[in-house]
Amino acid sequence: MVTVSPKSLLLTLLLVPLAALAQVSEFELSNGMKVVVKEDHRAPVVVSQVWYKVGSSYEPEGITGISHALEHMMFKGTERFGAGEFSRVISALGGSENAFTSRDYTAYFETIAVEHLERALELEADRMRNLILDPAEFAKEIAVVREERRLRTEDKPTGKVYEQFNAVAWRASPYRNPVIGWMNDLEHMTADDLAAWYRRWYAPNNATLVVAGDVQPEAVRDMAERHFGDLSTSRIPALKPPAEPQQAGETRVQVRVPARQPYLMMGYKTPIVGQSKEPWEPYALYVLSSVLDGGESARFSRDLVRGSGIAASAGADYDSYSRLPGMFVLSGTPTDGHTVAELEQALRQAVAQVRDELIDPAELKRVVTQAVANKVYEADSLFNQATEIGVLETLGLDWRLSTTEIDSLKAVTPEQVRTVAQRYLVDDNLTVATLVPLPMDQQQPRAASSAGGRHGS
C-alpha cells in the first residue's frame, strides 16, 4: 500500500488547516483491481464508486449506446440477487445509488452510512461478474432507454444540436457517436450483444474502486480483498489506437427543428493532458477558457453580454481530461435583434483577439485565484472528491494530477495562452453548428438523432 501525504498541494496547503487535509491511499488487489481511498472524517458517511474502463468511445458502429444500455441492465439482477434487489437493499440501508456512463467510462456509486460500506461492496462485487442478462428484462429496459433518448435528445433542440455537432466534427474518432447511442442501434440491440460486451469489459482488472469518506484505508483494503479479491480476471482487449485525421477546413452544420430560440456551437479540436505537444498546453487552454468564460467578469460576459449586448449568454468549455483529444467549445444564444451570424462573428473576434494579443496578467491571476478557491470548495463534496479520482484513474492518468493542477495553472504564462490560441483556435480546425428554429405550432417529422453526457440509470 502506498500512502501519499499530499505535500504537493502547495498553495492549498497554505489555506487548508491540516485536520481537513485528505489522506489518499492506493493499492492493487492480486487480480489487478485498483483501489483508491480518500479519507474525509467530517461525517459518518461514505461514497463508494466502481469505475469501469468502458464507455461509448469503446463502441464499434452498429452497437452505439451499448455501454449505457448495459449500465441500465446492471440493476436487473444476478444469480444471488433478483431484479431490483440491489436498489432495494441499498435503499433499506438508507443509501442512495445510481450510475453514469460517458464517452470514456461507466461508473456505479453508492452514498451510504459508513457502517454499511461492506454491504455495498459485496453487492458491487457480485454484479461485476455474475450479472444475468434476461431477454425479457432487456426488452423492457431498452424501451426505457429509448424513452430516455427521446427525453434528452429527440425532443430537446439544443440536445439535437450537440449530437449533430459531434457527428460532423469527428470523421474517425468514436467521439462522433452519442453516449446514449443512435436510435436505430437501440432498436436493434439484443441481450446477447450486451452479454458479450459485459464479458469483455466487466472484470476486476478493468475496474477501479474509489472510496471517499469516514473510513480507514486498512479496513477498506480488507473489505475489498474479501469481496473483489477472488473475482476472476478477463483478458481485456487492447483498443486499436484511433486517430482523427487532420481537419483541413471549416465544417458547418444546420439543425432545423421546432424551437423558440436560435443557438450556436463552435468547436476547435484541441489536445488534452497526456497527449499534447508540450505538457503545458492543456493548462494554457484551461486558462484561456476561463479568461473567456470564468464568471461574470470574464470576457464573454463583459464584452458580449454587457458590452455589445449581442449575446444573451455565451460560454467556453474545455475539458483537459479525456481518453481521446476533444474540443474547445464556444456556445451561445443571441439577443433579440441580433442574429446567430452576428454572434458567431463576435465569438470569432474574441478568439482572434487572444490569438493576436497577450492576455492581461490580472486575468491570469483571477483565473488562478478562482481555481485555488474552488479546490477548497470542492472538498465540501464527498462525491466530487471521489469522482475526480475515478475519472483520472479510469483515463489512465494519475489521481495525483488533481493535486498538482493548481501548480500547473500557476506556471502558465500569457505567452503560452497566446500560443495555444494560435496553434489550435484556427478556422481550419473549426466546426460550427447552428440551431435554426422552425415554428413550434407546425408538426414536423421527428427524425431520429442525438446527445450524450451523463445518464443516470
Binding site: R88, A92, V144, L151, D155, E296, V376
Partner: protein, 433 residues
C-alpha cells in the same frame, strides 16, 4: 460517541425508534430583526452565507416574473459598483455569489474563503447586493431580455409547458398559479419602479433569514449576520398568503411538436406545517418518492418499460403546495401510461402501503439522514429552510423519530382523507395532445 462535523451523533433507542441529533443549530436575531441560523463547521476554511426573504413569485401581484426579475437584478450592480465591477471584485478573490427564487422564497448565497481580507470583501459586497441594488437602466433592459429568452428556451420543453399548465389550473387565481419565470407580456412591462418597489417591500430585515455555515465561531457569525443585513431597513414581514382554492378535476390535452407526451397528474397537497406532513411524506416515498425503488417506478418503468423518469412528490410550501405524479412516454403510449399511473394511485389510496414497503421506506429515509446533512452546502440550505418556515431549532434532531413513528394506518388514513383520484387534474402535453 463521536464528535464530527460540528455535530454529535447520538444513537438512542427509544420507544418511538431512532433519534439522531443533526447539526447543532444556533439562532438569534440581528439588531434590525433578521433571524439568523448558524452551524459551526470548522473543518474547511470556508463559509457559506445564504439570505432568504419571503419574496418569491407568490408576491408578484399582477406582474408575473417580478420577484425573479428583482432577484436577478441584485447581482447586476450594487452600491458603488456596477455589474462588471461587482463581478470582478468577487471573482478576483474567488468569492462565489448566487441568487434564485421560487414561489415562496427568494435568496442570495455567498461562498467565501475565511481568509480575513477575502471575507471582508465578500460581506461588504453581500450587504450592497441585498440592500443597495442599482437597477441601472441598461442592466434592467439586459436582464429583461435574458429572462424573456430564458423563458422561451424553457417553453421548448413539453415538460415545462405541462407543469406551467398544471399549476395554472390547480391554483386558478391564487398567487401560486403562475410560474416564477413569469410570462412574456408581464416581463415586457415591468418597470424600474416596479423592481425598486418590490425590493423595498420584501428585502427587509423583518422578512429575512440569514443562514451561516462555516469555519467561523459564534461571535464572528454574529458580526457576519450584522454586516450582511446592515443596509436593510427593518420593514415588515410579508403578509400571510390566502388559502388555496378548491378546483374540480379534469383532463387537459395540449398538442406539442414532440415525440414524447409529458403527463402531470395531481392535486392540492400539503403545507410546511401540515399535521399530516410525515404520514404523507413517508407514504409518498413508497408511492413514487424513492429514486430507484417505488411503486410507480415498478409499475410504469420496471414492469412495462413505459417511461425513463417517473416519480411523485408533495411540494410542501407556506400554504398547500401540490401533490404531483409525473411521467413521459412516446406519444402512442400516453393513454396507457396515464391509466397505469391513475390505477396505481387509486390502489395506493385504497390499500395504503404494505408493512414491508413502509418499513423499507422508513429505513431509507432514516438511514439516509446523515447523507443529507453531510456537506456545508446541504446544511446551509436546510437551516435556511428551517428558519424560513419557522421550524423549531431541534427539527433536524427530531426528524428521524417522527419518521420512525409513522405507521401504515396513519399513511392510509392521511392519503384517503387528502388524496382522491377523481379530484385530480391531469395535464397531457405532447404529440397531438
Amino acid at each position: 460517541m463521536a464528535v464530527k462535523h460540528g455535530w454529535v451523533l447520538l444513537v438512542l433507542l427509544l420507544a418511538g425508534g431512532l433519534v439522531q441529533a443533526g447539526p447543532s443549530v444556533e439562532s438569534w436575531h440581528t439588531s434590525r430583526g433578521a433571524k439568523v441560523m448558524f452551524v459551526h463547521a470548522p473543518e474547511l476554511p470556508m463559509v457559506d452565507v445564504r439570505v432568504v426573504v419571503d419574496g418569491g413569485s407568490a408576491r408578484d401581484g399582477g406582474l408575473p416574473g417580478l420577484s425573479r426579475f428583482t432577484n436577478a437584478m441584485l447581482s447586476e450592480g450594487a452600491g458603488e459598483w456596477d455589474a462588471g465591477a461587482m463581478a470582478l471584485r468577487l471573482e478576483e478573490r474567488g468569492i462565489q455569489l448566487g441568487s434564485g427564487s421560487l414561489r415562496d422564497m427568494a435568496w442570495i448565497s455567498v461562498r467565501s474563503l475565511t481568509d480575513a481580507d477575502v471575507l471582508a470583501v465578500a460581506l461588504e459586497s453581500a450587504q450592497a447586493v441585498l440592500a443597495s441594488p442599482r437597477f441601472d437602466q441598461d442592466a434592467v433592459e439586459r436582464v429583461r431580455q435574458q429572462l424573456q429568452i430564458g423563458l422561451r428556451h424553457s417553453l421548448q420543453s413539453p415538460g415545462t409547458v405541462a407543469a406551467r399548465r398544471f399549476y395554472r389550473t390547480l391554483y386558478a387565481d391564487h398567487p401560486y398559479a403562475h410560474d416564477p419565470d413569469g410570462d412574456d407580456a408581464s416581463l415586457s412591462k415591468i418597470t424600474v419602479d416596479d423592481l425598486q418597489r418590490f425590493h423595498r417591500r420584501y428585502y427587509v430585515a423583518e422578512n429575512a433569514i440569514v443562514a451561516i455555515v462555516g469555519a467561523v465561531d459564534r461571535k464572528t457569525a454574529e458580526s457576519i449576520a450584522e454586516q450582511v443585513t446592515g443596509g436593510l431597513a427593518a420593514g415588515q414581514h410579508a403578509p400571510p398568503l390566502p388559502p388555496v382554492p378548491t378546483v374540480s378535476g379534469g383532463e387537459l390535452h395540449e398538442a406539442f411538436p414532440s415525440s414524447q407526451t409529458h403527463i402531470y397528474v395531481g392535486q392540492s397537497g400539503m403545507s410546511r406545517h401540515d399535521p399530516d406532513y410525515f404520514a404523507l411524506y413517508v407514504g409518498n416515498h413508497v408511492l413514487g418518492g424513492g429514486s430507484l425503488v417505488s411503486t410507480l417506478g415498478e409499475e410504469v418503468r420496471n414492469k412495462r418499460g413505459l417511461s425513463y423518469s417517473v416519480y411523485s412528490y408533495f411540494s410542501p410550501m407556506r400554504v398547500d403546495g401540490p401533490f404531483l405524479m409525473v411521467a413521459q412516454t412516446k406519444n402512442d403510449q400516453a393513454e396507457q401510461a396515464l391509466k397505469v399511473m391513475r390505477d396505481t394511485l387509486e390502489r395506493f389510496v385504497e390499500d395504503g402501503p404494505s408493512e414491508d414497503e413502509l418499513e423499507a421506506a422508513k429505513q431509507n429515509l432514516i438511514g439516509g439522514f446523515p447523507l443529507r446533512v453531510s456537506s456545508n452546502a446541504q446544511i446551509v440550505e436546510y437551516i435556511a429552510m428551517m428558519g424560513f418556515y419557522d421550524y423549531p431549532l431541534d427539527w433536524l434532531d427530531t426528524l428521524t423519530g417522527k419518521l420512525a413513528a409513522v405507521d401504515v394506518a396513519q399513511v392510509r388514513d392521511a392519503f384517503r382523507r387528502r388524496i382522491s383520484a377523481p379530484a385530480g387534474i391531469a395535464v397531457i402535453v405532447g404529440g397531438n395532445g
